[in-house]
Amino acid sequence: MRIPLVRRVLEANDLIAAELRAGFEKAGLFAVNVMGSPGAGKTSLIEQTVEHTGSRLRIGVIEGDIATSLDADRIARFGVPVVQINTGGACHLDAAMVRKALDRLEVSGLGVLLIENVGNLVCPAQFDLGEACKVVVCSLPEGDDKVLKYPAIFSLASAVVLNKLDLLEHLKFDLSGFRRHLGELNPDAVLLEVSCVSGEGLERWMEWLERGARNARQSGGR
């Protein structure tokens, strides 16, 4: 006997994510899922962000890593609320991990929640964390073919941060090709070309974040 189901494999995750999303929206909080490969500069981007706008945008941070609290320690130096999740081997964060981390993070009063995912361009794409936006951080040394090779994750991004722009003159990186591929794959994604070392382009990234925070606040419960 055949029984039709049509049930999502990750429905358990999606249910928790929906609950988180409703909570974030009600609180007027702009939650961002920051994804990208190891070494792309996700933590550096968050450091720059909290250093320059941490208190103005009232940023809180969740750091996801397989092991260590190195990233949370880097962020804590800036005096913003931060919680480290250690996945203990899992290649991505899931909604249940984020919900658990929120037990240790007071979100009332926050305007932005940056959730740094485990460094990986594959698995995090599949797991909804209840965020308002997904951001992919990638960097010049990784090569200009990443959009073609990992289309699933880039196709989901509201914004793509291309980091380490200061290395452009030292690398054979086809910047116009990268722009074209991203534009074709995901025409709605905002491309932000930055350097966390020189500071170039970071202003546009922070404007993007601030706009998101403003929209979340205005449509939120207060």
Partner: protein
């Protein structure tokens, strides 16, 4: 590499539905897996065989229907699968397309046996 967790979900969904239907065993589980679902079907098969041992789904066939990535061109409406090395429309070279399929990851259906027919089930290979 989260196929083990995904397979665990697939198995619990299947067992849950089979129990609701009062079935004794599951003979087939059919999945729809999008090309961009980040799930590797062969890996799911391997995990399924391991996890299903000792459950009513032991020995069940796992059928995977792969759903290709399809875009719909905003300019001319053509549905197309992007070629390697680009995502533009092969019809009009339009560069704004919307993903219409390829992210699916769900259990489509299961096939079950009830107790009175379950006895005929012989031990089968993978």
């Amino acid at each position: 590499m989260h196929e083990l967790a995904a397979t665990q979900s697939i198995l619990s969904l299947a067992l849950d539905e089979a129990a609701k239907a009062g079935a004794a065993s599951i003979t087939k589980v059919s999945l729809r897996v999008g090309e961009w679902s980040t799930i590797e079907p062969d890996c799911v098969r391997f995990c399924f065989d391991v996890l299903a041992k000792g459950t009513p789904a032991e020995g069940a066939e796992l059928a995977v229907e792969l759903v290709p990535v399809r875009y719909e061109c905003e300019a001319c409406g053509l549905h197309y699968t992007p070629a390697d090395g680009g995502f533009s429309c092969p019809g009009c070279s339009g560069r704004r397309g919307k993903l219409v399929s390829g992210r699916e990851l769900y259990v489509d259906s299961i096939e079950v046996r009830h107790a009175h027919t379950a006895r005929s089930k012989s031990s089968r290979g993978k």
